[in-house]
């Protein structure tokens, strides 16, 4: 595989990658080992769908729910999509963050647009710190797959291709599928969830690092 991912290959392997993502996402708690049971029990996938829009544009939408470590009625919802950007010819990560609280018989969710608005416990749990923010270029726009104007945050794909190229990891005699999945995994940890919430990352398979 070249260092680039075409839309066709993206479509072809997106679901396989998403399955891998659902299976291998861990919450790496700072106070314990990765995948530690206690922090693992604080998050779960609450939705995962795939949608195809015009001209064979396929994308997945997932939602992760992170429960507040102390307050059982509160949680953080991270909704994100993985889609393909035609201009930058690479995957792109769109996301939204909501804080949800269940009070009496009403469930209230509130969309957040800045990491500073997040409850500190969540910031701590998800490993947010100023150093990360410095390198993360978050932009706002409507979703490029949606006709409506409501806002998503996204990690601008302007650097993606160059950085993915620099990883120089695709010259191995692995199958095309494995190469694409390795690409997806590295991309996701660098320009996807890994850039946003570094502790909510994918465990990288040893093959991707060899």
């Amino acid at each position: 595989m070249e260092y680039e991912l075409t839309n066709t290959r993206f479509n072809q392997y997106l679901l396989a990658f998403n399955k891998h993502l659902l299976e291998t996402t861990v919450l790496d708690s700072s106070d314990s080992h990765p995948g530690d049971k206690q922090s693992q029990s604080l998050f779960s996938f609450t939705n995962s769908t795939v949608k195809t829009v015009a001209q064979e544009k396929k994308y997945v939408l997932n939602q992760i729910k992170v429960r507040h470590p102390e307050s059982p009625n509160r949680s953080l919802l991270v909704t994100f999509t993985i889609s393909y950007d035609d201009f930058f010819t690479c995957p792109v990560f769109y996301f939204r963050i909501f804080e949800e609280v269940e009070i009496e018989n009403e469930t209230k969710s509130r969309a957040l647009l800045t990491i500073e608005d997040m409850d500190e416990s969540f910031q701590h749990l998800l490993g947010i710190h100023s150093e990360i923010r410095k390198f993360t270029n978050i932009s706002f726009d409507s979703h490029h797959m949606s006709p409506t104007s409501d806002i998503w945050m996204y990690l601008h794909p302007c650097d993606t291709k160059d950085v993915m190229r620099s990883f120089k990891m695709f010259h191995r005699n692995t199958s095309e599928e494995q190469q694409v999945l390795d690409y997806f995994t590295l991309w996701y940890n660098t320009f996807g969830m890994g850039a946003l919430f570094p502790r909510l990352c994918l465990r990288i398979k040893p093959t991707a690092l060899s």
């Binding site: 679901l15 399955k19 659902l22 299976e23 996938f45 609450t46 939705n47 995962s48 769908t49 795939v50 949608k51 195809t52 396929k58 939408l61 939602q63 009625n73 949680s75 909704t79 939204r96 909501f98 269940e102 009496e104 018989n105 009403e106 469930t107 209230k108 969710s109 509130r110 969309a111 957040l112 647009l113 800045t114 100023s130 923010r133 410095k134 390198f135 270029n137 978050i138 706002f140 979703h143 949606s146 006709p147 409506t148 104007s149 409501d150 806002i151 998503w152």
Partner: protein, 650 residues
């Protein structure tokens, strides 16, 4: 696992993307308005082929496409579920509406539908979706409650729950993968899956689940099919609950004797919360939908990027919270305010006494042609219009205008002092309530009183002044903040040996300060703002002098620029002890006498010169030049005394 109790079900949850609300809001504003009749909607769930074990509970998704009338939009991936949304007009209606009655009505609709059917082929008739909503379009808050009505029939689970054989699993998988989606099949004795007319002799049925729950429970959508079977006189049945990527199971159900098909059945289906409670949801998506909040966030984000990437020490809050007083809402005022907006400044007050004239809009970017003839041809007041324009550019701005003439030195006030005194008092209170003052007026003398007030009220003062092809941008030294007065930087007037006087009366057109090369104003304005920002980002005001440094490196005292040769220079001069505006003599007189002192100065600049010592300086200068002249004795020129040269010497 063995039991003889009613079967347990997984209840459906909705997943509502913000684009659903955005589309609903748009419909409400442009089409429905106050019409609260129901609208057809659809949701989708993942096709069983692509479910993974993480699709643990049945979820129906709603987004912008929920309002599309086109059917089956995304065949391969998703299954559409149809129904209706009721959008109420008030929150009271949403809260007070009889939810039980509503659900019953919806359930009966499904009931009537399936009573007509003789097969289970049309999955969409069996399970419909309903939503009750209220849209608060001002705050972008959406109250909503979904219902997936299920009709109760009294089945008892008997015997064990078994895993299905791989053969049956693959047979169903084949059917699900290769034909249009159907959810419920009858299994014939020769192991054929059929979905046509029910055959009374075959009592095994396969239900295709839309989730892959690992605990062997089936989603509640099965219930309406069970009711249908009860209606069709099935008493004992085997159910295969097929899960594409999970444990498909088989179990037996027996219908309780008390089932009466003529009785209205119990109907359930309001969505429950994560903790299993019945209640509506509230989505506050203002942050994603309200253009004002988006602008606010985007402006801040742009600045934060600068902080994160370039200048981590940058104190953006400090810039943002400062209240800025702009004296003059002309060319300089327009450009300075716009550049300050870029820095995230939110609080502005413009002071100006003029109206927008026809020559203004091309040079003054806060005004437009229409502003010139507003108010019956008089034109808008500049101060008010400038404030309005800033708010139009960025709604989060707090901007106001003060129509007022700044009392000017050398422009005598009449004996009643009326207007001038009032203006003086207003100006004082404006100084008191702002943090920084920009001097952007079109004359020298209008800057004198603000210079004095800036010192007296201990404010940061930035001054920008234009010539035809030159400019001056400077910050005034601050008498209250400097420990060593000898080191204090000068003000606009510190280089003068005369007090400012009327320069406006009898001025010809080409002497007006607006006769400048058009680019000069924006250059000077930009420098003024950048000088200000550098100044307030200094580590310590007290210890920095002249060419002191800030986060952005140097903070010069003055920048003078010249367009005739495109050069600029940084100057640094200390205060002048006889300055007509910032000397101690002037400031202490102002402190003691206030308006009376100002009035005297306005009426007679000589009075001011006497106070600050400039008169004395002038006298000394005159004496010095006289003595220089005397030294330049005519004798030494070797000329004849008799010849009269006095005429050309003087």
């Amino acid at each position: 696992m063995s039991s003889s109790s009613p079967p347990k079900f997984n209840y459906i949850n909705s997943f509502v993307d913000t684009s659903f609300f955005a589309t609903l809001a748009d419909l409400k504003l442009n089409k429905l308005k106050l019409d609260s009749s129901r609208i057809r909607i659809k949701g989708y769930s993942s096709h069983p082929n692509i479910l993974t074990k993480f699709n643990d509970s049945p979820i129906i998704n709603f987004d912008y496409s929920s309002f599309d009338s086109a059917e089956h939009s995304d065949h391969g991936n998703n299954i559409d579920w149809y129904g209706y949304i009721y959008n109420t007009n008030t929150i009271e209606e949403f809260k007070n509406i009889d939810k039980q009655k509503m659900l019953r009505k919806w359930g009966e609709e499904i009931l009537e539908n399936i009573q007509q059917l003789d097969s289970t082929e049309d999955y969409a008739s069996f399970n419909q979706v309903f939503a009750l909503t209220f849209s608060d379009l001002k705050k972008f808050k959406f109250y909503y409650w979904f219902a997936f009505p299920s009709i109760h029939s009294p089945w008892i689970q008997v015997g064990e729950v078994n895993h299905v054989s791989p053969e049956v699993q693959s047979m169903i998988r084949y059917e699900v993968s290769n034909t249009a989606f159907k959810q419920f099949f009858q299994l014939t004795n020769d192991y054929q899956l059929v979905s046509g007319k029910l055959h009374p002799n075959f009592n095994t049925f396969a239900f295709v689940d839309i989730c892959n729950n690992q605990n062997l429970t089936t989603s509640s959508q099965l219930k309406n099919y069970l009711y249908f079977l009860a209606l069709r006189d099935f008493k004992s049945i085997n159910i295969i609950s097929y899960k594409a990527d999970g444990p498909s199971v088989q179990f037996q159900l027996k219908l309780a004797d008390n089932f009466n098909k003529n009785e209205l059945p119990k109907i359930q289906g309001w969505e429950r919360s994560a903790h299993g409670k019945l209640g509506p949801k509230l989505a506050d998506v203002g942050a994603l939908s309200d253009p004002k909040r988006l602008a606010e966030q985007a402006v801040d984000l742009n600045l934060r990027l600068m902080k994160w990437r370039i200048a981590p020490e940058l104190n953006l809050d400090d810039i943002k919270k400062k209240k800025v007083l702009l004296l003059g809402a002309g060319t300089l005022g327009s450009y300075v305010s716009r550049t300050l907006l870029g820095w995230g400044v939110r609080n502005f007050t413009f002071v100006d006494n003029g109206r927008v004239s026809y020559s203004n809009p091309v040079r003054q970017p806060l005004y437009f042609f229409k502003d010139c003839y507003a108010e019956n041809g008089k034109g808008e007041w500049k101060a008010l219009q400038a404030a309005k324009a800033l708010k139009e550019i960025f709604p989060d701005v707090q901007a106001k205008g003060e129509i007022m003439e700044i009392p000017m030195i050398g422009h005598p006030v009449d004996s009643s002092d009326g207007n001038a005194k009032e203006s003086f008092a207003r100006l004082c209170s404006l100084f008191e309530t702002h943090d920084v003052v920009f001097l952007l007026t079109d004359s020298r003398e209008s800057r004198w009183l603000p210079t004095v007030l800036g010192q007296s009220y201990n404010k940061t003062v930035i001054n920008a002044a234009l010539g035809f092809d030159s400019y001056l941008v400077m910050r005034h030294g601050n008498v209250q903040k400097e420990d060593f007065d000898a080191q204090r930087l000068g003000c606009y007037y510190c280089s003068d040996v005369v007090a400012p006087e009327d320069s406006l009366s009898d001025r010809t057109l080409d002497q007006m300060c607006t006769v400048t090369r058009p680019g000069v104003a924006s250059i000077a304005s930009s420098l003024a703002v950048e000088l200000y920002v550098s100044l307030i980002q200094r580590a310590s005001f007290e210890t920095s002098k002249g060419q002191s440094s800030s986060l952005f490196d140097e903070v010069p005292h003055q920048i003078r620029g010249f367009l005739h040769n495109f050069s600029s220079m940084k100057l640094h001069n200390l205060n002048y002890k006889h300055c007509s505006a910032c000397s101690h003599a002037v400031l202490s007189n102002f402190r003691e006498s206030g308006w009376d002192f100002v009035k005297n100065c306005m009426n007679d600049t000589k009075y001011l010169e006497d106070i600050c010592g400039l008169s004395q300086v002038q006298r000394e200068a005159e004496m010095a030049s006289q003595s220089a002249l005397n030294d330049l004795s005519l004798d030494e020129l070797g000329l004849d005394d008799n010849e009269d040269f006095s005429e050309w010497i003087s």
